[in-house]
């Protein structure tokens, strides 16, 4: 296998001291930026761009990429410990990570996120070195029509994530769609629902809404110290990860990694949508779907594997075709240009050594992250033993700075506060918050791609069944919706068998 000899050469090159240091610097910054609520990978990579470029050559890109995949590890920390998504792709980790931390299993949850991130990273990296060229060309087959079908498929998957009251779940989903419409309509041009505010012109930033809706709401609910202190009794065992969790979640890890990889490689979809699909798939496939959302270890495994896998996959179109598929990779592309490289199909041919050395640094960086985060886990988990009256002011302070840093304006904090208050009302009235963020992430993609398809086809709906990928996805969608019914029937049959064998 030629790729592996190239890869080993790359790893050897990436093990040079300057590159090694640049990688370490990148992953540490990435961990921090991921963990800080508000600041996410795209803002983080952009902020660090000038510093990284000054390192020159391979170290520059090793550092930039390190920030990106490092933030995927870091995002889980705040999600689990405080219920605040550290960055958009860790929203789904809140669902089960935060309940686990409240049950005194913070270390276990953090440990799972590290294993999942590592496995997801590993599978993503194997895909990156072996499949990058064919998968990049395959990704190009996804035009607006296929994206529309994929989004409808995604929505059918995630429909399991509603709450007890299905109607209120759909209302929350619709509200998320509506929030996603705020700002300049990118297809036809009018400005929607901004009420004249300049700050809303570019739309509402997802991480700001997530910080408010999950983080501030969670904190509002636990301001009463006497009510919550009972949960935070010190237990040494709660600080440490458990290896056997990784074994019991192996299918979810694999599923999350693969989902993350294939969704992440598509330009314009991104890691956040990938985590949502991975989480929903995990819940769909599970024998105990009712445990999801209450602190179920598999609920951390799938999305955390997915976001790391997706972060590597999203670099594939950049390195093989010169296509930046996300805000983060667009900044990395600017970095390549500043270094005097020409991102495009010839990059591998003209600068093969460079790319393989950068890929090599990913493997080293992934290992570094595992050791760093495993070592840090007990210390991070012990954050929960700080008294609320000290901890929450600190967290609010980080949010204030972190949200400001997203777009250098205080309007983000206002939106976060509004989202926090609305989140509290929704939660108390039994409107589930998850469909709202799903709507906010998937809604704009669905709307834009449907409208793009309709412009292309001049309003002809037949394109959705004429194109094979779209048709296949629609058939999958129908299967997903029909699956519970099929399983119900199969379940009765196997129960019957069980009874037969018991009696026999």
């Amino acid at each position: 296998m030629e790729v592996f000899s190239l890869l080993f050469e790359g790893i050897a090159q990436a093990a040079e001291p300057t590159t090694l240091l640049a990688t370490l610097f990148g992953v540490i910054i990435g961990l921090l930026i991921g963990a800080l609520p508000g600041l996410g990978p795209s803002a983080g990579v952009a902020i660090m761009l000038p510093v990284a470029i000054s390192l020159g050559g391979v170290p520059a890109l090793a550092c930039l990429a390190g920030i990106y995949y490092g933030s995927m590890f870091g995002g889980a920390v705040t999600s689990i410990l405080l219920g605040i998504p550290g960055d958009p792709p860790s929203v789904m980790t809140v669902m089960d990570g935060y309940p686990m931390a409240k049950n005194g299993e913070a270390g276990r949850a953090l440990g799972m996120s590290v294993f999942a991130s590592f496995i997801g990273g590993l599978i993503g990296l194997i895909g990156l070195v072996t499949l990058s060229v064919p998968i990049a060309s395959a990704a190009l087959a996804f035009g607006p029509t296929e994206m529309t079908a994929l989004m409808i498929f995604a929505l059918s998957l995630v429909s399991v994530l509603g709450g007890r009251n299905a109607i209120k779940g759909f209302v929350a989903l619709a509200l998320g769609f509506w929030v996603g419409m705020i700002g300049l309509d990118p297809i036809a041009g009018p400005i929607r629902f901004t009420w004249g505010s300049m700050d809303l012109f570019d739309g509402v930033d997802f991480s700001v809404v997530a910080v408010g809706l999950f983080g501030l709401t969670a904190m509002f609910l636990s301001l009463n110290e006497t009510a919550t202190s009972g949960l935070q009794k010190f237990k040494f065992s709660s600080l440490f990860p458990r290896i056997k969790d990784a074994v019991s979640s192996r299918f979810d890890l694999l599923q999350g990694s693969i989902t993350g990889f294939f969704v992440g490689v598509l330009p314009g979809i991104g890691a956040t949508a990938a985590t949502m699909m991975a989480y929903a798939t995990s819940k769909r496939m599970s024998k105990t779907p009712e445990k999801y959302g209450t602190g179920h270890i598999q609920g951390i495994a799938a999305p955390e594997a997915a976001n790391n896998s997706a972060s590597y996959a999203s670099m594939i179109p950049l390195f093989t075709l010169g296509i930046p598929g996300s805000a983060t990779t667009a900044v990395m592309m600017a970095g390549l240009l500043m270094l005097g490289l020409q991102p495009g199909p010839l990059l591998f041919i003209n600068n093969g050594d460079f790319i393989w050395a950068v890929f090599g640094s990913f493997w080293i960086g992934n290992l570094m992250l595992v050791f760093l985060t495993l070592l840090l886990t007990p210390f991070l988990a012990s954050i929960l033993f700080i008294a609320t009256a000290i901890l929450y002011p600190i967290v609010f302070a980080i949010i204030a700075f972190g949200v400001f840093a997203i777009d250098y304006s205080m309007s983000g904090l206002m939106i976060a506060l509004a989202a926090g208050v609305i989140g509290l009302v929704l939660l108390k009235l039994d409107y589930p918050p998850v469909p709202l963020v799903l709507g906010l992430i998937l809604g704009p993609m669905l709307e834009r791609n449907i409208r793009r398809t309709m412009i292309q086809s001049q309003g002809d709906l037949m394109v959705f069944i004429e194109r094979p990928i779209a048709l296949a996805l629609f058939i999958l969608t129908i299967l997903v919706i029909a699956w519970p019914i099929i399983r119900n029937m199969m379940g009765k049959k196997s129960n019957a068998l069980l009874e037969v064998s018991n009696s026999g």
Partner: protein
């Protein structure tokens, strides 16, 4: 004031003698403090790179006795940053670069300022647009495109230079071109490479890697003259289409700035435009075309661009 007049006269005389434009007429009085350079977009984007490169070239060549301090003020599609600059009428220590949003956001009525609130200083290069099709496409020339009834093109944003050029080509070649707006250059590039649209108009820096690799085929350029990076690609004018539209890289100040300040900056920017540093750090990296336009020429082109955007937006019923 007396000192100013005197030194001005002395320098003016030497200026005439040298025939150069670089010597500042009132060096002792202006600039009196550091220059604020506002970038109305985020870090790492095209506008950010442009502005910071200009600032670093001016710094390296020591053209100013003070520093240029670049500062990002993103938000509102440029409305926040341009609003900050345009509302400080007469502040001659404040500069910004122009971009598409400089025109379009005010036209949509979403900005507190418009192009009339700014003083154009000079333009130092421009980026042409290249019309390209996938290599697998049956279209070999612009004439081939004129033969079909309908084409689609990928643009970034509803009102953009690419949409404008598609509109111009529609009028000139008599073919219906529907613009499909995408969320960023990457998605637009993926759409053309995947064959989901027929044609694109893109900057040379976005296209060159693809044309070199043989995935896209360039058919025409939108500038008045051929482009260095694509010497064999004809201009639209050569092909008999009256299409000429480029993206100017230039600097503006708030309105109400004195003539002297404009002259001073024209001198500095002319040096930037003709410097090796600018050529190496920007023109060659991003395949721009070198050009220098003084404040009057630049102002005329700003007005022309604004009129073109207004026309296309009125056509689409946006304003």
């Amino acid at each position: 004031m007396k000192r100013f007049a005197k030194s001005g006269a002395v320098l003016g005389a030497s200026l005439l003698a040298l025939g150069a434009t670089t010597a500042p007429i009132f060096a002792q009085d202006y600039p009196s403090r550091d220059i604020e350079m506002i970038i109305p977009f985020g870090v790492g984007g095209g506008s950010d790179v442009l502005a910071r490169t200009i600032a670093s070239v001016i710094g390296e060549k020591e053209l100013l006795p003070v520093q240029i301090l670049p500062e990002n003020r993103p938000g509102g599609s440029g409305a926040v940053g341009y609003g900050y600059v345009g509302q400080q009428q007469g502040n001659d220590h404040l500069i910004a670069t122009v971009s598409v949003s400089f025109f379009t956001t005010p036209l949509l009525g979403a900005s507190p300022v418009s192009y009339e609130d700014f003083t154009p200083l000079a333009a130092i290069s421009y980026s042409p647009y290249v019309l390209a099709v996938p290599t697998s496409s049956p279209y070999e020339s612009v004439d081939d495109l004129a033969e079909v009834d309908r084409l689609t093109t990928a643009t970034v944003g509803v009102v953009s230079d690419a949409a404008l050029l598609a509109d111009m080509l529609t009028d000139s070649a008599g073919v219906q071109i529907d613009a499909v707006p995408f969320d960023g250059e990457g998605e637009a590039l993926a759409a053309i490479l995947g064959g989901h649209v027929d044609i694109v108009f893109m900057n040379p820096s976005e296209l060159l890697a693809q044309t070199e690799a043989g995935t896209l085929r360039p058919l025409a350029v939108s500038s008045a003259e051929r482009v260095e990076a694509f010497p064999d690609v004809p201009t639209f004018t050569e092909l008999g289409h009256d299409i000429e539209h480029v993206q100017l890289r230039g600097l503006v100040m708030p309105g109400g700035v004195s003539e002297e300040v404009v002259d001073y900056w024209e001198g500095i920017l002319e040096e930037v435009a003709t410097s090796d540093e600018w050529r190496e750090q920007y023109i060659e990296t991003y395949y721009d075309s070198p050009a220098y336009l003084n404040s009057e020429e630049f102002a005329a082109l700003i007005e022309q661009t604004n009129d073109r955007y207004r026309a296309i937006m009125e056509e689409q019923g946006l304003i």
